[in-house]
Symmetry: C2
Subunit: 107 residues, 2 copies
DNA sequence: CCCCTTGTTCGATAATCTTCGATGTGTTCG
DNA sequence: CGAACACATCGAAGATTATCGAACAAGGGG
């Protein structure tokens, strides 16, 4: 059998539209997603800086968790840091055109 | 001169992405938008029923206001009722592909 | 082994959102 | 005019979310 979930990231088929939209419906999280799209991948510290977010580390961690639990980004452990990536392909399969529309939209 | 705003609906150029996404990031409001896309246009009472929303009239009015202030739908007065329509064209110009992606997405 | 860095989790507080019933406003109809 | 209808708005209660600092866990380097 194929294990499709790790308990941290929802399975691609479980992504719920309202939840994805709600996660993206916050300026800070939207900036985070845009920055991650530019960077391709990044650790948390750099991503927060690149997104221009002045908030505590714990608050950013919270927002990152919201994005992760909505299925928008993926985190993998690399040494002492977590490398974040957008789940572009899976989002495209489930909600065709959605992420691109968001990333291409004016600020 | 051209009057572009009526105080109730944001101007097309003022639509903010995060606000639009936040407005859509709620199951009830999402169902409302989907139903309105099917109906083309509708008064509030019928739209609420068609969207399958069991909530008080005042609560629906509140959600309708959130959608309107985000620039997603338009209300015009017709006699004693308000006729609601999606601002499809304006959304398409400002955020190409976004509304279609939402409407075409699986529930 | 200590310590610094990275990031999460917890507990508290503040802000925002949801929901309702009551009330108000304008419309239509008898 | 008066009742019935369609919605909006107000004010309050409850739920959810945002935010922070403190405490915690895991890695990497001296």
């Amino acid at each position: 059998m194929t294990v499709t979930t790790d308990g941290l990231h929802p399975d691609a088929s479980d992504l719920r539209l309202a939840r994805v939209l709600a996660a993206l419906g916050d300026e800070g999280r939207l900036a985070t997603v845009r920055a991650l799209a530019r960077l391709g991948e990044s650790d948390c510290t750099r991503l927060q800086a690149d997104a221009g977010l002045e908030m505590s580390r714990s608050t950013f961690s919270h927002h990152q968790k919201v994005l992760r639990e909505a299925g928008i980004l993926h985190a993998r452990v690399q040494g002492s840091q977590r490398i974040l990536t957008l789940r572009k392909a899976e989002l495209q399969v489930r909600f065709p055109g959605l992420l691109n529309a968001v990333l291409d939209a004016p600020a």
